[in-house]
Symmetry: C2
Subunit: 425 residues, 2 copies
């Protein structure tokens, strides 16, 4: 059987309650969610993805699944099995959907399909609806030849200009689904032919440990304790140590800023996964820079830095950087904006859509531009404050968990024709 992921079951139903969000997102949205979920009570929903931890999809499912359960939907989350070679293939597919080069061989095709066939056989338990995330398990639907259930492919990748060879290979397996969901309309591959395509952006949970309100004095104390000088400005990037997130570029930006503002400090926070040799090499490079520079701070989950420390640093930083070259959505941008931080970020993937109106000049495309924007903001605290306020309001209106839950439930209700008008794309 495909492994179930243990998520908080909230048998108490005290803590995870959609009503808690009313104060933040308003009654209309919550009432609509309750109306939709009334029609879906007892529905058996299965999310399938590649990993229970690491990256945005696992983070989203960790927050979504408990909410669905609290709403009376029997939501599960299962992960596929695979060996190292398979996950190397799917990592390449991920990059290829973002447009990278990749040489698709017959061996790769066969390995991918064999793994998906096995996973489909291992699925065993049956559900009313399946939501399959990203390319790794995308062909499961093809091999799971049932017709009474509904299948949604949820793509978290900016696949607007995919590598043609990989996309042509995957396309028939994806077109076997009842619906596909992309983060935004521009992310849809141009030649995808499906009756139903929806666009649903991810969201952050304001009540998660990573976003929960924290006393300012606690943040200052914890940051000072980690060696940061509170009297000098602190720049922050929170991201995996991955070339797409460009941490080495961030160090370059920091050095440019430091020429003008010698006291400036940079904190890089990144989670490491056991199976990512590229990440380990990059961490070594970054650590070598950090040992030589007392103003460059590097923190990882290996030394006990978790979600609450990320929260602390996001609240305590003077300016937040997200210098991504490619990005699915970039949840970390919404996290920082929610904490009223000014963010200077790469204009990649879902980042621009998160920026508040009037602040798109802080989307940058190279290190020099990034450094210049940071220096400008360091000199203009009023702009920083206004940006922060506008950012929080944008996230409140568009990127909090209830909006995501609503959109997903609406799609499911439409697919199952349980109330609500159908939308076709």
């Amino acid at each position: 059987m495909l492994s179930l992921v243990a998520v908080s079951s909230h048998s108490s139903a005290e803590s995870i309650d959609i009503d808690n969000y009313r104060q933040l997102v308003g009654d209309a949205l919550i009432d609509e969610i309750l109306h939709l979920s009334d029609g879906l009570k007892g529905l058996r929903l299965c999310n399938i993805n590649a990993t229970a931890s690491g990256g945005g999809v696992a983070e989203l499912l960790n927050r979504e699944v408990p909410i669905y359960r609290a709403l009376g939907i029997e939501a599960d989350w299962r992960i596929i099995h695979g060996d190292k070679a398979f996950f190397e293939i799917t990592k390449s597919f991920h990059n290829a959907l973002q447009g990278s080069e990749f040489q698709l061989t017959d061996g790769v095709r066969q390995d991918y399909l064999e793994h998906n066939r096995t996973c489909a056989e291992l699925l065993e338990v049956s559900y009313d609806i399946y939501v399959v995330h990203d390319p790794q398990p995308a062909a499961i639907r093809y091999f799971h030849r049932t017709r009474q259930d509904k299948w949604v492919w949820r793509c978290h990748i900016d696949s607007s200009s995919p590598n043609e060879q990989v996309w042509e290979f995957l396309r028939p397996y994806i077109e076997a689904y009842d619906a596909a969901v992309f983060t935004a309309e521009p992310f849809r591959p141009p030649d995808l032919r499906m009756d139903r395509v929806a666009f649903i952006a991810p969201a952050i949970d304001p009540f998660a440990t990573k976003n929960i309100d924290l006393p300012q004095n606690l943040c200052r104390q914890a940051i000072a304790d980690s060696g940061v000088n509170l009297r000098e400005p602190l720049l922050l990037q929170v991201s995996r140590f991955d070339p797409w997130k460009d941490p080495l570029g961030v160090i370059q930006v920091y050095r440019l800023v430091k020429k003008q503002r010698p006291g400036v400090q940079l904190a890089l926070i990144g989670a490491m996964a056991g199976d990512d040799p590229e990440g380990w090499d990059m961490l070594e490079t970054i650590n070598a820079e950090a040992t030589a520079d007392p103003d460059l701070h590097v923190f990882t989950n290996l030394t006990g830095v978790g979600n609450m420390e990320v929260n602390v640093f996001q609240r305590g930083a003077d300016l937040v950087i997200q210098k991504s070259r490619k990005e699915g959505f970039g949840l970390v941008v919404s996290e920082a904006l929610w904490k009223e931080k000014a963010v200077v970020a790469g204009a990649a993937g879902g980042i621009p859509m998160q920026f508040p109106k009037g602040y798109h000049q802080y989307l940058v495309s190279n290190a020099e531009e990034c450094a210049a924007k940071l220096l400008y903001l360091l000199d203009n605290p009023d702009e920083v404050a206004a940006f922060g306020r506008a950012g929080r309001e944008r996230v409140r209106a568009e990127f909090l968990l209830p909006r995501l839950v609503h959109d997903q439930l609406k799609l499911i209700a439409d697919l199952l024709e349980r109330g609500g008008a159908q939308t076709k794309a």
Copy 2:
């Protein structure tokens, strides 16, 4: 060169300041530390161990080194290089010093010595004093044939009844040191022949993110959000998923308690390391139990649980378990006692010495006994409160960072004959 570990440099000297601890440990101890460090200003001190993250030694060095630097000592922390085979050997040596079986072959001896010889050659930079931690790099002193410096071997393991073969192999390399330090007198191998042996227990830092005061409402909110029902009791063990820490035994204990108290919940928090296949297997077993039991919660650094979340759970738990079979010191016991928690623990290694007087009946040797003590405490909140107060006072008096810093500086001053009388063992 052996890699330097980046630790907070505290150029600001605002946050890490030994004076901050006066309120907790009193003036006499702090004044003595300042007196000792006056005599050691500019001293070049090098700590050498096997890893920059994971486990108690890395945690201690992360807290100690910044304090030494703030005191004017030029303290560094370097880690040795080694391949997988070498670290498997040294893991076996670690277990063998704790008394495990191990077949010492010529190949193992040679591999161990070759790695230590290489590390000694890579050391390059010279220091006034070296503190080498645990068996992994123990033979470096033998290969680094200098005589103007001083060398301390710091053993964090309960090596009171070591595997004879491994101990006989390591002994001459250890006896080449100027001093050896054990956590407590009973941990010293009986036949170690050295002029100077000191006994210094580890300590926790009350200002570290893991121990810093947190508002009770924040702890409750974060714990509830993670799926725990605050209206029912929560048991907690924080430990690596390692047979010595016996997490599966803890689950067995929890099930015994649950027979009498059906609402009881268990949270297991463990950090995973990339290179520990045994830990991954154990996590899989534990996760399988957790998916089937909504009252069993499992958290790891992989899903963003870090030091501050550990702090939150230690403060929010009703009772803390530390069911170790073998233990070096067991810092986590002091962490819990400092938060005024009643702890039911295995009578292993350094755990008993941390327990306050009058509460040694909560040291247990099997699951049934552990469950019985937990049930008793669940029924006797006054005992829990008194235990917690006594525990905090014991930690305050014996196991906070300044006492450790004092003892280490005293040993160093004695070795260098810079003030203070010499102590011989």
